[in-house]
């Protein structure tokens, strides 16, 4: 009798824990409002990288492009471009967009930090 009561109380405790976790993870999870670009959703990341590539196509400023890509995380700019190219090919980016990404990819492969503005 005493044992069954303890088991019952434990089950109730576990149910409470489950309810609390469900509330904390699903109903009212912690909200972040000041996030870094590193955790942008994949399509937003890809669009950001595309913007950098478009800007690069306008000014050919490799330093600026590298700085803008650096905020996406610890991966090298070339790796970031490579991943974005893969995403672009699988998500119906236009040929021109892919070409611009490739252009920046090539520039980032040859990029050495601190170099001047490329022609």
């Amino acid at each position: 009798m005493f044992t069954s009561k303890r088991i019952r109380l434990r089950i109730i405790f576990v149910l409470g824990v489950v309810a609390g976790i469900l509330y904390g993870w699903v109903v009212d999870p912690v909200e972040y409002t000041d996030v870094t670009p590193g955790i942008l959703r994949e399509d937003y990341r890809a669009d950001y990288v595309l913007m950098v590539a478009e800007a690069y196509h306008g000014d050919y400023d490799t330093n600026a492009a590298a700085r803008r890509l650096a905020v996406l995380g610890s991966a090298s700019p070339a790796d970031t471009l490579s991943a974005t190219l893969e995403y672009a090919r699988g998500n119906k980016f236009s040929q021109q967009e892919i070409s611009m990404l490739q252009e920046l990819f090539s520039a980032m492969q040859a990029y050495q930090p601190g170099e001047g503005i490329s022609p």
């Binding site: 109380l9 109730i12 405790f13 576990v14 149910l15 409470g16 824990v17 489950v18 309810a19 609390g20 976790i21 469900l22 509330y23 904390g24 993870w25 999870p29 912690v30 972040y32 409002t33 000041d34 996030v35 870094t36 670009p37 955790i39 942008l40 959703r41 994949e42 399509d43 937003y44 669009d47 950001y48 595309l50 913007m51 950098v52 478009e54 800007a55 196509h57 306008g58 000014d59 600026a64 803008r68 905020v71 490579s82 190219l85 090919r89 699988g90 998500n91 119906k92 980016f93 236009s94 040929q95 021109q96 892919i98 070409s99 611009m100 490739q102 252009e103 990819f105 090539s106």
Partner: protein
């Protein structure tokens, strides 16, 4: 009232509440939800600034206004154009390169107008005008403008089917290259004394218009006086006009105004004296209007 801790219902309730408390502690503190798919509206303010700069730089290269609008919309700013203008002013104050500031101002202007304006490129300024023109009334902008479109959070404007896969090797550039354009000089077409007690004393107002009498944003103007100089850009106060810029003149100081883009030079500018209804003198303002022929 005495609480009976041996009451089974009370025990069950307390145990359940304790469980909930532990669960909340775990889910909020020990292992909170980790966001990995954030959208740009959640970015820190400094990263939002960077995001806007990249949008403006991209727009300067592509002139794709619908896409720039969609991208700005992703930041979910209450007043996207106001944010762009405010950021441009912050950048100007921080001494950032003029080209970056101009891109921001240009994007703000084009978003307001709903059309892509032709950019003004820097050219050496021309011969000094040196003559004071007669006062002419300010030509008001009469162009009809599209209503400001809404900023929707759509991302890609259109997609085209994936064509044959191309290798990741450097390929020759196949895009159009910028075509050098001849920029017509901005000429001083109007110089008016402004005696208005509601305006700040010594206010020098500048309005620049293109050949079609549309106000021209992003034009670089330099104000110089014996002790220094100040850089201005039109369009940083879009609420006053896309081709508007202003500067506060001091009493007994003589200034020169130079329009860097498609240049014009106006020397010997100083704040006039005005009289209020009571006969008291105060420092008035000037309105200079420039236009491309």
């Amino acid at each position: 009232m005495k609480i009976d801790l041996h009451n089974p219902l009370l025990q069950i309730t307390l145990i359940f509440l304790a469980g909930i408390g532990f669960g909340l502690f775990y889910s909020w503190k020990i292992s909170p939800v980790t966001y990995v798919d954030a959208d740009p509206s959640l970015l820190q303010s400094d990263f939002k600034d960077l995001y806007r700069q990249v949008i403006a730089a991209s727009y300067a290269a592509t002139k794709d206004l619908p896409r720039a609008r969609a991208r700005i919309g992703l930041l979910a700013d209450v007043d996207p154009v106001g944010e762009l203008s405010a950021q441009a002013q912050r950048m100007l104050a921080a001494g950032e390169p003029f080209d970056r500031v101009r891109r921001m101002a240009q994007l703000a202007t084009d978003l307001t107008q709903g059309v892509t304006a032709n950019p003004f490129t820097s050219t050496p300024f021309s011969q000094p005008v040196g003559t004071v023109l007669e006062s002419t009334p300010l030509v008001e902008e009469t162009l009809t403008q599209e209503p400001p479109p809404s900023f929707e959070g759509t991302l890609f404007v259109e997609g085209t089917p994936l064509s044959p896969i191309i290798q990741e090797t450097p390929t020759p550039r196949s895009f159009s290259t910028p075509i050098p354009t001849t920029v017509l000089p901005f000429m001083l077409v109007g110089q008016e004394t402004v005696c208005d007690l509601t305006l700040e004393e010594g206010l020098l107002q500048l309005i620049l218009m293109d050949a079609r009498r549309r106000q021209a944003a992003g034009v670089h103007i330099v104000i110089t006086w014996p002790e220094g100089e100040n850089d201005l850009f039109t369009g940083l106060k879009p609420e006053l006009g896309n081709g508007y810029a202003d500067f506060i003149m001091q009493a007994d100081e003589v200034y020169s105004v130079r329009v860097v883009d498609g240049g014009s030079f106006v020397p010997n500018i100083s704040a006039p004296l005005c009289s209020d209804p009571g006969g008291n003198q105060y420092l008035g303002g000037l309105l200079l209007t420039f236009q491309q022929p």
